[in-house]
């Protein structure tokens, strides 16, 4: 499946057409929607954190690009999380409608890896800044 067809499958019209199955228990539908909204808020928090680091923190002495190194990936991660959260909502809703087991979520893995990576970059930036 190519990337363009994968993206086209996420458009609301396609989602509604390909839903199949029957309307699931409303509790599950609402829970799926709340999960998406919780990930959306996480994405917004990452964006605001990234912007705060770049624009509001004092520069790291000796590391002129330090703030951008920390802030820009956070903002980009926010955009990625929002899109992936929607894709996961579509997959989950489809599985719920068809009575299939819920697919495995990659989002906790993405977030954990990103946070670990950011922590590592932060440590390096701070160390370099302290040593200069």
């Amino acid at each position: 499946m190519s990337w363009s067809s994968r993206l086209a499958a996420l458009l609301p019209a396609t989602v509604a057409r390909d839903a199949g199955g029957t309307e699931p228990d409303p509790r599950f539908t609402f829970a799926n929607e709340r999960t998406f909204l919780a990930w959306s808020r996480t994405a917004l928090a990452l964006v605001v954190a990234g912007l705060g680091i770049v624009q509001l923190l004092p520069p790291f002495p000796g590391v002129p690009v330090g703030r951008h190194l920390l802030g820009v990936p956070l903002i980009a991660l926010g955009a990625v999380l929002a899109v992936v959260a929607y894709a996961e909502w579509v997959r989950n809703q489809r599985a719920l409608r068809r009575g299939e087991p819920l697919p495995q979520s990659f989002m906790p893995w993405i977030l954990a890896a990103a946070i670990a990576g950011m922590a590592l970059i932060s440590a390096v930036v701070l160390l370099v800044s302290a040593l200069r």
């Binding site: 964006v47 705060g52 929002a82």
Partner: protein
């Protein structure tokens, strides 16, 4: 329990006000609150960006009431006395698609502001 309470209880039952029947697991209520929190998150981000770039901040702030309004679809209407509880809404993908696209666009705007905007270093000192 007073006679007044008894009468109220009877009216509530007529209105289909059994919480489990009207709103199973309080899912509608909790989802409605989740939408409100998301709208507040947009407003908080808009407020922060306002400090850096006024126009971008106002654009993001303007998204907050739209998100709140989108969440109102989930809330549904209060059932009228004697009528059966309204059916729970079918959640359309469009609203969530709008949220995802909004966040991606907002992130792009913030990226531009972060890269090109003049910083206010020490504002968080």
């Amino acid at each position: 329990m007073s006679a007044q309470d008894g009468q109220d209880g009877q009216e509530r039952e007529l209105a289909g006000d059994d919480p489990e029947e009207r709103d199973p697991g309080l899912g509608r209520e909790r989802t409605s609150l989740a939408w409100t929190r998301t709208a507040i998150s947009f407003a908080a981000l808009g407020g922060t960006v306002l400090k850096v770039n006024v126009i971008t901040g106002l654009v993001i702030l303007a998204i907050a009431p739209v998100v709140w309004q989108l969440g109102r679809v989930t809330r549904g209407s209060t059932p009228e006395a004697g009528l059966p509880a309204p059916a729970l809404p079918t959640v359309g993908a469009t609203r969530l698609f709008i949220i995802a696209v909004s966040i991606a666009v907002v992130a792009l705007l913030c990226l531009i502001v972060a890269l090109l905007g003049s910083s206010a270093p020490g504002a968080l000192r």
